[in-house]
Symmetry: C2
Subunit: 482 residues, 2 copies
Amino acid sequence: MIAEPLLYERVAAHVAGLIERGALRPGDRVPSVRRLSQQQGVSVATVVQAYLHLEDHGLIEARPQSGHYVRRRGVTPLPEPRAPRTSATASKVSVAGLVAKVYGASRDPHIVPFGAAYPSPDLLPTDRLNATLARIARTSGAVGVSYDPPPGCLALRRQAARRAVEWGCALTPDDLVTTVGASEALCLCLRAVAQAGDTVAIESPAYFGVLQLIESLKIRALEIPSIPGKGIDLDALEEALASHKIKACVVSPTVSNPLGCVMTDEAKERLVEMLARRDVPLIEDDVYGDLYFGTARPRPAKAFDERGLVMLCSSFSKTLAPGYRVGWAAPGRFRDQVEALKFAQSVATPTLPQLAIADFIENGGYEHHLRGLRRKLAAQAQQVSAAIAEHFPAGTRVSRPAGGFVLWVELPPGTSALALHDKALAQAISVAPGPIFSAKTRFSNCIRMSCGYPWSDLLEHAVRTLGRIAREVADRPGPELD
Amino acid sequence: MIAEPLLYERVAAHVAGLIERGALRPGDRVPSVRRLSQQQGVSVATVVQAYLHLEDHGLIEARPQSGHYVRRRGVTPLPEPRAPRTSATASKVSVAGLVAKVYGASRDPHIVPFGAAYPSPDLLPTDRLNATLARIARTSGAVGVSYDPPPGCLALRRQAARRAVEWGCALTPDDLVTTVGASEALCLCLRAVAQAGDTVAIESPAYFGVLQLIESLKIRALEIPSIPGKGIDLDALEEALASHKIKACVVSPTVSNPLGCVMTDEAKERLVEMLARRDVPLIEDDVYGDLYFGTARPRPAKAFDERGLVMLCSSFSKTLAPGYRVGWAAPGRFRDQVEALKFAQSVATPTLPQLAIADFIENGGYEHHLRGLRRKLAAQAQQVSAAIAEHFPAGTRVSRPAGGFVLWVELPPGTSALALHDKALAQAISVAPGPIFSAKTRFSNCIRMSCGYPWSDLLEHAVRTLGRIAREVADRPGPELD
C-alpha cells in the first residue's frame, strides 16, 4: 500500500514540477516562503519543510538573506586548464607593479572581491576571536606590552607543533619560530638559503606573493609547470635540478595557489627525496593546508623530511584572522639562521595576537570551525565554478581545486586577462590577472578568481558581467604589461 | 621675628642632622615612617611631611615598595668615554652570535635587566593601553581580523604625521608606511637603497640591531666615530664620503644608542646637506627621539630634508609597548619602494595594535605620559650613573646621555667586557658587552647599561657586584669572541 504524500511533499512536488517543465530555470529565484504559503493555502512551516526537502534533493539552494534558487544541475563541468611548458631559463621577476594594482582594488569594500584571496570575515569566528584577544589584553598586564623575542610565543609554538605532529611531522615547539604571517616565514626561510643572483625553482603558475618576494630579494626564478590535479611536474623538476644550479625550491604541496592541487603522499615523498639527494632545501608553503576538501588532513612534505631540509611555513591568515598576522616556520636545520634573521628583520612578532590565537586553538573549537569552513569554501568554489560554466565563453577551462578557495580560469586563447581585469575593475569587480602568477608574465589569457565570499546575487551578477567582458575582449589586443 | 619651626620641620632637621654627621650615609635606608613616628613621638602624617620636605631638598629619595634612602650627593661625575678612531676600511659584520647570547638572558625575569634596552612595563601606561586594545578588539568586528595592507593603518599614519609636523617635518599620512616596529622600518629602508656587497656608513659605537641587520643583508659597514656629547663626527664622515662609495648612512641624530647624543640643529643640517650633495640617502633612526631630556623636542634630521633623501624611522616600542610592534617609516622619495618591500616581506602590519596605539595617542594622554616618562628615565639614568661612580674601579668613564635610558660605560683599559658579561650573567645580572656595538668588535673594555627600570636595592646591589667583577677581570685576558 502506497502512503498518501504528506502536505509538504505535495508542495515540494509542485515546485519540482515547475523546475522540470522549465517554468523555473537554473539560477532563478523560487517563490518566497510567504508567497508560496499564500498561493498554496498551506502554512509557512509546511513551505519551509518543502524547501528543506528540495534542498536535500539538490533541486534548490538557499542563499543567505536572499531566498531560495533553482540549483544549476547538469552544467557540463568545464575541462581543467592546460599545464604550461617548462621554462628553459631562470628569469628576473617583475610583478610588483601589477600586484600593487590588484591589491589597491582589494581595499575598496564596494568592489566585488574575486581578486585578493582571503575568506569573508563572516566565515571566520571573528567576534569570538576578537573577544579572546580582548580578554587576554585586559588581563595580560606587562606580558601584553613586552617583547616575546624569537623563537616567539611558546603557547603558540606548542599548539602549532601539536597540530603538525597530528599530520605526521615530528616537530617540537623548539623547532618553530613564530613570524608575522606565513609571508614573513617564507621571506626568512628564503633569505636563510638563497641570496641575490641565485636561482630558485618555483611552481608555474605560482602565488604572486612568492614571486614578489623573490623579486624583492633579486633572486632568479625557474618556473616548473604545475599539472592541474597533480601539482608540480616532478619529472620537469628533476631535469631542471640536473641542468641548473638551484639553491632552493618553493612549493605548496598541499593545496597550491592558484591551482588548488594536493600532491599525493608518493609525490611528496619523491619531491623531498629528489631535493635531498642534491642537498637543495624545500621551502614548503602550507598556508592552505588546513583547507583540504578531502576526508583527512593531507600530510605535508615535511612529514617525509629525514634530513632537516624541508622548511615548513604556515599561518592562521586563511583560517582565522589575516589581520592578526600570526604565522610560523619550522625551518629544519636552518632554524638558528631563521631565528637570527627574524630578530634582525622585525625583532619579535606582536605578543597579544599570538597569545589570542594560541588560546583559540586550545579552547575555542578551532578544529570544529575548520570543518565548517572547509565545507562552506568547497560549496562556494563549486557555485562560482558552475556560474563560470554557465556565463563564460565557450572554450573556457577551470581548475577543480582539492582545497582552498581560488579557481584558476583559462579563457579562450587570445583573450587578454589584463584587458578583462581593467574593464572588470571599471565595473567594480576585481580579479587577479594571470600574468602576476608568472616570472615570465605568462598566462596572459588566465585569471584567478577567489571564492572566499558566500554565494549571492551580487556574485552571480558579477560572474555574468565577467563572462560578457571576456567575450568583449576576446581576440582584441590587451594592454601592454607595465 | 623668626617663626618657630613647624613640627615636621623639626623632624626633618633631625634626619638631616643624622645625614650631615655621617650617621646615615649615601645609599643608606632612613628609618621607616612608622618607626620614626614612634621614635619621635609624632604622627605618621608628620613624618610623611618631613620626608617629602627632605625629598624636595634633595637629601633623600623614595624608592617604590622599599622606603626612603639617603641620596648620593657630591659624587664627582665620571669623565665621558673617549671617541673611537675612524675606520680606514669597511667591514663585514658578525655580531649575531653574541647578540643572541645577550638577548637570551633578557628573557629570564630573574636576571637584573641592565642588558636589553626596554623600559620597565611599570613606567608605561600598560593597563590603559591594553584596555584600549581590548575595547577596540571587542567592537572591531571584521576590521580587526582583516588585512590593513601597506601603507597601513590610516588612523596611525595620521597621528604619526601630525606629531612629526610638530617637530618641523612637512609630512602627511600619505608619506608614511607602517611597519612591525622601527626595526622593520630600518630593514625596509636599508633594503630599498642598498644591497649585498654595498657599503653603508654607521655611527661607532652603533646600536647592535643595526649591525645585525647590516650583517643579515651582507652589506659592509664603515664605522664613523661618534663623539660623546655631540654625535657622529661630521668631519670624519665627510672624508669617508670622499674616499668610499657609500650607498647610505644610518644615524640616530636625536638620542643615539648607546651614547645618548643629541646632535644640534646645525649639525643635523650639515649632515643632511653633506649627504644630499652626494645623493646619499640618510636612514634616520628616531626611535628614542621622544625621550630627550631637554626642554623641547629636538627636530629630526628629516626636518632639514629638501630632497626626499632622509628616510625617517620610528616606533612606539620605547615609549608605549615593545610587544605591540608598531612602527613607521617616512621614506621620502623611496616611499613606493618601501611600500612594495613591506608587502613582499610581511604583507601587512597587524591591524588591532595599530588601531590601539592610534587611539591612545589621540585620546589617551600620550604627551602627558611622555613628560612623566622622560622625567623618570632621566632620574634613573642619573641614579645608575651615580652608583657606577661609587662602585666601579677608578678610571671608569660613563656617558652623559641627553635622552633615552642607556649608559655607555668605558672600563679601565684592559678590562674585558666579555669576561665581565659572562661573570655577571653567572650572578644573574645582564649587561650588553661593548663588542656587539661595532662591526670590528671594538670597545672590548666597554659595556652598555640599560636604565629602563626604577632604581631599587636590587639594582644598587647589582651595580656594586658589577664593580667588584670589573676589578676581578681587570687586566686578565677575556674570552675569545665567538
